[in-house]
């Protein structure tokens, strides 16, 4: 099925971003246009997601070039679930920026940069062409460089240099992998590559290429190669950290799922077990980092690492249940990581410090903020009825069915470390003796809590209403595990 509506989730943010560049100093225009765009994207992508359930996978061949010759967008349930979540989470983060951040940030190209970032992220989710995936990655990365350096404090500039260099090198690896892939299969359309790899067999050369792709996407996702992540995710303002934590690593994870389920699924004993080992080490390293750190921003950043490890445990196991669990956990993690970073940003702006030992007794002054943090903590640790629970249960069930007990043990142990690391923040910062007296306390901008509470409701909603999502998630997992559905949809002739 071909459908022109598929272009809008990526086109709208780009157009809005370009328009906003010309209205830099008009705070009101910036806010209205960017919020409106994200709502429109959310509505359109929900519509597309529902159309897929009745009409099957949708595609759009740009310029009328039939695959495999042109670039195309393919929308299956997996990509559209992520697009919907992305647009909603971005909307809430923008809301926080509007309420909390000063006039300076709202008029300093912040909104256009976020919109371009979204265009890149959504484009990466929807594209059906390997080289186009690279281009969308670059759109996303360039915007993230801008967002990371916006404000230009010493610490930000220093971390940005590391982040940018790492990403340039990984983009280089991406191009190398693309060159070898094109040299060996002679096409760049994902479905066509998958077909040719299946026909000719995945020889040693192609397996090597797949490992290079694994390295590239692991760098972007923070799987094993996460050493750049805690530094760069903990320097920018809270909103930017929230957007990074919620969206950026997820694009790498999406690419790993897509590439290793669609294109290179033929040697699971090598590729998937490698991913399993990497996920295990990521879980261990992330857990140690989260427990060892005393800086609350660092603790939150290490929690991003742990979640990446957990989601990829699902891919390493690759049973229907585990994949479904990973998809649930992806949705959950985007929502809750945004919540975690926003709450931590609010704490830092209230106390003026990031060190655990310098805060105490915030609960008395800001109870609502405290309970928001508490819920984020429960949700991340996988306590029912919040959203983390479904994903953890399904991935664990998959691991038991598959007999992969080491990964199961590590995944569950990492939940304990998540709980412990956040409990330390909760106990030290929110309980204990109140240092600041009622008269001296900084007033908490009431509006700041609105985005946080929306996210709290979302995580509870996903947890309680998981059944409602089940249709989409099952379909997404089904398409991932049966690549021929995707290939057939791309090459079907009916327009």
């Amino acid at each position: 099925m071909m459908n022109n509506i598929l272009v809008f989730p990526m086109l709208l943010p780009i157009l809005a971003g370009i328009i906003l560049i010309f209205f830099r100093t008009h705070r009101r225009i910036q806010i209205v246009v960017s919020l409106g765009t994200m709502i429109a994207v959310a509505v359109i992508s929900i519509y597309i997601l529902n159309t897929i359930q009745t009409d099957g996978i949708l595609r759009l061949d740009f310029g009328g070039w039939a695959p495999p010759f042109g670039i195309l967008f393919v929308a299956d349930s997996f990509s559209m679930i992520l697009v919907v979540t992305t647009s909603i989470v971005t909307f809430i983060c923008l809301l926080y920026a509007v309420i909390a951040a000063g006039k300076q940030m709202n008029t300093l190209y912040f909104h256009p940069a976020v919109l371009f970032l979204n265009a890149g992220v959504i484009g990466s989710f929807m594209t059906g062409d390997m080289f186009n995936l690279f281009v969308c990655f670059e759109v996303m990365l360039l915007s993230s460089y801008v967002l990371l350096t916006l404000g230009g404090s010493k610490r930000q500039l220093r971390e940005a240099i590391k982040y940018v260099t790492i990403n340039i090198v990984s983009s280089w690896f991406f191009l190398v992998a693309l060159a070898y892939l094109y040299g060996s299969v002679g096409t760049l359309n994902m479905a066509h590559i998958a077909m040719r790899v299946a026909e000719n067999g995945q020889g040693p050369l192609l397996t090597t290429v797949s490992i290079v792709f694994l390295i590239v996407f692991s760098l972007k996702a923070g799987l094993l190669l996460y050493f750049w992540l805690p530094g760069s995710y903990s320097t920018p303002p809270a909103v930017t950290s929230a957007l990074f934590g919620a969206l950026l690593t997820k694009v790498g994870i999406y690419a790993l799922f897509r590439v290793f389920s669609l294109i290179f699924p033929h040697h699971p004993e090598l590729t998937l077990s490698l991913i399993g080992v990497m996920a295990a080490i990521t879980l261990i390293g992330g857990s140690f980092g989260a427990v060892a750190s005393n800086d609350i921003r660092k603790i939150a950043a290490y929690n991003v690492v742990i979640a990446v490890g957990f989601i990829l445990v699902g891919l390493a196991i690759s049973t229907p249940l585990a994949i479904e669990g990973s998809i649930y956990y992806l949705i959950h993690d985007m929502v809750v990581k945004a919540l975690l970073f926003l709450v931590i940003g609010a704490i830092i702006s209230l106390t003026g410090t990031t060190k655990i030992e310098e805060m105490s007794g915030l609960m008395k002054n800001y109870p609502l903020l405290g309970w928001s943090f508490f819920i984020a903590m429960l949700s991340l640790a996988g306590v029912p009825p919040f959203s983390g629970f479904i994903g953890k249960v399904l991935v664990s069930e998959g691991a038991i069915q598959n007999g992969n007990l080491v990964l199961l043990a590590l995944a569950l142990l990492s939940s304990l470390f998540v709980l412990y690391s956040l409990l330390r923040i909760f106990r030290n910062c929110f309980w204990g003796e109140t240092i600041i007296s009622k008269d001296e306390q900084l007033p908490l901008h009431k509006g700041i809590l609105v985005p946080c509470l929306i996210l709290v409701l979302l995580t509870a909603g996903i947890g309680l209403g998981g059944e409602g999502l089940a249709v989409y998630v099952t379909d997404a997992a089904n398409t991932l595990l049966n690549p021929e559905i995707y290939i057939d949809a791309v090459f079907s002739q009916q327009q």
């Binding site: 360039l142 240099i161 260099t165 340039i168 693309l178 060159a179």
Partner: protein, 112 residues
């Protein structure tokens, strides 16, 4: 011819790695620029070098050159141009703010 170009790619990559690993920020940026040249040559070679005529409909030939790698390289050049421009500005700002272009000295403490 292909072998020669691949060796050239290898040499360029070696130079780029040497530059990227140095402590001076400008050298690192030059290294990333050479990195991108190396990979563009690699993509070009992967498409096969001059093994047919120009890919135009009017040409009376049986073998045509693959035009796609050139389109890919063009896109990649534009992207690496944008990234290099950004990094140069970033390096200049960082030099102004931090007063150094030595990466060892930029390590810094966590709390500032």
């Amino acid at each position: 011819m292909e072998t020669l170009i691949i060796i050239l790619v290898g040499v360029l990559t070696a130079v780029a790695i040497y530059l990227v690993l140095s402590r001076n920020l400008i050298r690192v940026i030059l290294g990333t620029a050479i990195f991108s040249h190396a990979v563009h040559l690699l993509i070009l070679t992967m498409g096969g070098l001059k093994n047919g005529t120009v890919p135009l409909l009017g040409e009376d030939a049986t073998i045509f050159v693959d035009a796609l790698p050139q389109a890919l390289i063009l896109t990649a050049i534009v992207i690496s141009f944008a990234v290099t421009a950004f990094v140069l500005v970033l390096a200049y700002r960082a030099y102004q703010e931090l007063g150094t272009d030595d990466l060892e000295e930029m390590r810094g403490a966590d709390d500032e």
